[in-house]
Structures are given as C-alpha cells and as structure tokens.
Amino acid sequence: MSNDSIVVDGVTKNFTLRYHRTIKQITIAALRRQQISDTFPAVDDVTFSVEQGESVGLMGLNGSGKSTLLKLINGVMRPDAGKVQTRGRIAGLIATGAGFHPQLTGRENVFLNAAILGMSEAETNRKFDQIVEFADIGRFLETPVGHYSSGMFSRLGFAVAVHTESDIFLIDEVLAVGDRPFKKKCMARMEEIRKEGRTMFYVSHAAASVRKMCERVLVLEKGRLVFDGDVDEGIRYLQYDDDDNESVEEEDLDEELGADI
C-alpha cells in the first residue's frame, strides 16, 4: 500500500479578473468592444505527491499561487482541472489568519473553529485549556475577535489549529505577525508536530525557517511548479540565499530564532 498523504494530479485553478462590475460598466465595455473579463491560471498544471510524515516547504514570489494551492489542498477551493486527494484530517492556517467570525468572542470562535476542523464537543473541552494557554491572550478571550490585534488573531487561530488531531498540517506564513516569544513557541510546537509524523506543508519566504523545518522544497513560479527537491537547492533556485551584506545579520537572527520574515 502506498503511503501517500497528499496527491495533487495535474491541478489547474483559473481565476477571473473582472474589470467591470455593474450592468452599466459591462454595457459600455461591450459597446467599446473591450474585454469584459480575463482569466488566468493561478495554479497551472501542478503535479506532485507527498508521503505521510513528510514535511514540505512551499516557496515562491508573491502572487505565485502558494496560498491558492493550499486552499485547493484543504478543500476550500475546487480545482478547475485535475484532482486533489488527501488522506486524513487537515488542519492549519491559510493566508495569515484563521476562519474566525468577527462578531463572536474568542471563546466562541475556538469552539466553532474546532468543530469545523472536525473536533467533537468533548474533544474541544478537553483541549480548551491547552489552547487558551498556548494562545495566551488573557482576558481578550471574551471579547469579539473583530477587535483583536492581528497578532492576537493569528495566535488564537494557530493555537486551535495546532491542537487539532490532524494528519496533515498546513501553515501559510502565519508567523509573520507574531511577536518573538510566540514565534519561538510556534517553531517548537511545529517541530513537535513534525516528530509526531504528521504531514506538514509549510509556506514561507524565510529561507532559514524552511531549511530548519523541511526536508523537501517545492517552488512555484506564476502558478507552475518549477522545482521539486532538496531544500538547499530549492532555496538556491529561488536565489533567496545570495544575501547582500545588510540582510546577512537579519538572516542570522532569523536562523537562530527560526523565524519567518
């Protein structure tokens, strides 16, 4: 039996750019024979598979389709062509921030979020204290998350995701807004998750943290998968490592912290 955890087979996702939204705009555009809309592939014929327990770094420039690929893997979006298959429960955070409802309090959101991720009431109750302790947002737990700072928002989201019994764990640059102690805590926790043999999919622009967390790197370029293989080679491919002098210190700092950019 194969031990595939994520199989992505010839997946394409097209997005529509809409130039015109109202009937008036559409009519005028049609009369002038302008294009009404334009589609482009945000993820273009991507094929790869990930084995259970592998930890994969996904890198690429802004807008190269990393978040989109993650959304396809976790089932928020459907591919226009090709097939995505996963094994087991998926948890994680996509595009900085959890799926929280801004009107609900932190506590209510923890329960709702956990339920969406597939946790039962008993399971959530059992883990609730751990989640709250990990997020460490104090009395703000009882205020609506709409009033949270962006750091607090992603702390809580990360805390829920990280305490879910999942087989696949997706992280999309959530660490970007966390403060230093929290980043450290997150990296430690991610290390643990990795040791538990869960599949990890890590999106980051920070070469240092990818080097630390991952054993394989995928590189996207305008939606195409252009590199799949060794971490150091992948980072070299992206030319993320030709540090000019000023960024060397930063990189070192990041290295030691294992931080995200």
């Binding site: 259970q52 928020v76 298959q85 094994r87 087991g88 429960r89 709702l112 969406i116 039962s120 040791k195």
Partner: protein, 328 residues
C-alpha cells in the same frame, strides 16, 4: 464522504524508522482513504455534523441581535405590527371580513406560516455572504449556513405558533385528525421550500449581491399572493376564481401550505361558529370556512414538488459552490 466528519481520526503512530530512513521519526499510519478534501454529500453531510450545526445556530441567534436591547423580542415586533395593521385596515376600515368567522385566527395562522417562510428565505439568502470569513478559509459543507438560517427561523417562529395555539384553544379549537395532518404537511412544505430557495439564492448572492434585493422585493408580494388577508372563498368567488389565473394561484406551493395551516387552526374553530356546529355539509351558508376540494392530496403533491425543487436547488448549489471562496 467527508474526511473531516466528527470522529476521532483513525490514526496510530508507531515508533520506528520512516520510509526514507531517518531514524527516530515515528511512522504515522493514517487509516483513512485517499479522498477529495471537500465533502460532496451536501445536505446529508449537514445532518451528519449536528454538533457544528448546533454551534452555527447558536452563533446566528446571538449574532442577529448583537448590540440590541430588546434582542430576540424584535422577532415578534414585526409580525405583531403587521398583524395589527392588516387587522385594522382590512377588517375595520375596509370591512372585508364581516362574513369571515374568527378572522383574526385566519390571518394569524397564515401569518405564522408566511413569516417563517420569509425569514428562512431572506436570512438564508444572505447567510453565505454574511459568513464569508468562515467560507473563505475553512472547508465545510456550505449548506450548513442556509440550513442553520432555517432552524433559527423555526426557533423564532415557535413562540408565535404557541400564541396561535393558545388563541385557538380559547375560541374553542377541536381539531380532527385531518386538521393535525394538514398542519404538519403545511409546515413541512414551507420548510422544504424555504430551504430550497435559500440554498439557490444564497449561492447566487455570492456572485451578485443583487439577489438579496430581489428576494427583498419578492417579499413584498408574499403577503398578497396567499390567502392571508383575504379568505380563500373571496378569491374563489371573484372573477379570477376560475380559469388560468386560479390554476396559477393554486400552483404556488406556498398558497397550498398556507391553506393547510388554516385548515389546521382556523377551520376547526370556524366550523363551530355556525348556528349548528354539526353542519359542515352546507357550503352555501354564510361564514362557512371554504377550502379547496382535495386539499390534502394537493398538499401531498406540493410536498413532493417541493422536495423535487430542493434536489434541483441542491444540485445548483453544488455547481456554484466551487467558486465561493474566490468570489467572496
């Protein structure tokens, strides 16, 4: 099948060397099939994940009246004001229900059904857009949102039903078995039809927010196209009471549902109003609560038709759902 249904993942982590040989790494054997990450069972999945549904219902109830002093009471103010207004204008000013026994019950029973329907329809239509923060980020059966809107409307309508019940008992309600069955059938039609339309319009509303305005406009009609502020007999006697208009009128499932609910609450109270309570045969008697022939069979047919509509709307929803996350 959903890969994220509410059970413990069947996972076991055994210690040992992993496939690529790195020592000390446990091999996690996931005892689940390789499957698409999104659920494809639609409404079936919604009822499989009842805990999540319960949380969403609770969430919607608390979110709907957040920051308002009267809170849930507001869901009574509107129907009450509407009831009083209709009663005043139609009854006391126009005097249109002189010959209708227990007109207040007639109107209120219809109003409860119609209000339940319009609440489900309009709140359901906006439900996906309102929950966009969840829809954009989390994988879940999106049918959850319109369905939870329907449940919230049902919860809000229940006390109205209770008031109606008390009022009916007060004026001498003694329903026969058919009345009870008619009531259940009527509510079932409203529920199925409300959820079906909420599904379809909530999905379309993601693409064009015009749809929530279309629904709001449509609601202006709902009170007039069902026999609520006028009795069925008025329509049947009128110049429109025969021919194509009549058939068009009766082919509206909501009309039939309202008639069924009236059959349940109003007819048994009105029957006792005649000189002799035991003479339902004389339909020409003034004030006799006239209902269409074969109302029950019509009701069953409409329930079936609503279920067909529900299936079609669910299929449409499935097709549109693939693009929700990117359009919100």
């Amino acid at each position: 099948m959903s890969t994220q249904s509410e059970h413990q993942p069947a996972t076991s982590a055994a210690n040992g060397a992993s496939a690529d040989g790195s020592v000390g790494q446990p091999v996690r054997v996931v005892d689940a099939p390789l499957a698409a990450p999104f659920s494809s069972a639609g409404l079936v999945d919604v009822f499989r994940r009842r805990y999540l549904l319960r949380l969403l219902v609770r969430k919607e109830i608390s979110a709907r009246y957040q920051g308002s002093l009267l809170g849930l009471l507001w869901s009574y103010v509107q129907p009450l004001v509407r009831f009083c207004m209709y009663f005043f204008v139609i009854g006391l000013v126009l005097g249109l229900h002189k010959n209708v026994p227990n007109f207040a019950i007639h109107m209120f029973s219809a109003l409860v059904a119609v209000h339940y329907f319009t609440e489900t329809f309009s709140n359901g239509t906006r439900s996906i857009v309102r929950n966009r923060s969840l829809v954009r980020k989390m994988a879940m059966p999106r049918e959850m949102f319109p369905v939870s809107s329907c449940i919230v409307s049902a919860i809000n309508s229940f006390p109205q039903l209770l008031i109606l019940f008390v009022a009916c008992v007060a004026v001498g309600w003694s329903p026969d078995a058919e009345a009870i069955l008619a009531g259940i059938l009527g509510i079932a039609i409203v529920t199925v039809l409300g959820v079906a339309l909420a599904l379809l319009f909530s999905a379309m509303n993601v693409f064009f927010r015009d749809f929530q305005n279309i629904v709001a406009t449509f609601q202006l009609f709902t009170h007039w196209i069902v026999p609520m502020i006028y009795p069925y007999s008025k329509l049947a006697e009128s110049s429109l009471g025969s021919g194509w208009f009549y058939y068009l009128y009766m082919s509206n499932p909501l009309t039939v549902a309202v008639l069924l609910v009236e059959r349940c609450f109003w007819v048994p109270t009105a029957l006792g109003q005649g000189t002799d309570p035991k003479i339902p045969a004389d339909q020409s008697q003034v004030g006799f609560p006239v209902m269409p022939d074969h109302l029950m069979s019509l009701g069953w047919f409409m329930l079936f038709a609503s279920l067909v509509i529900l299936v079609l709307c669910q299929l449409a929803f499935r097709r549109l759902e693939g693009k929700f996350a990117e359009r919100l």
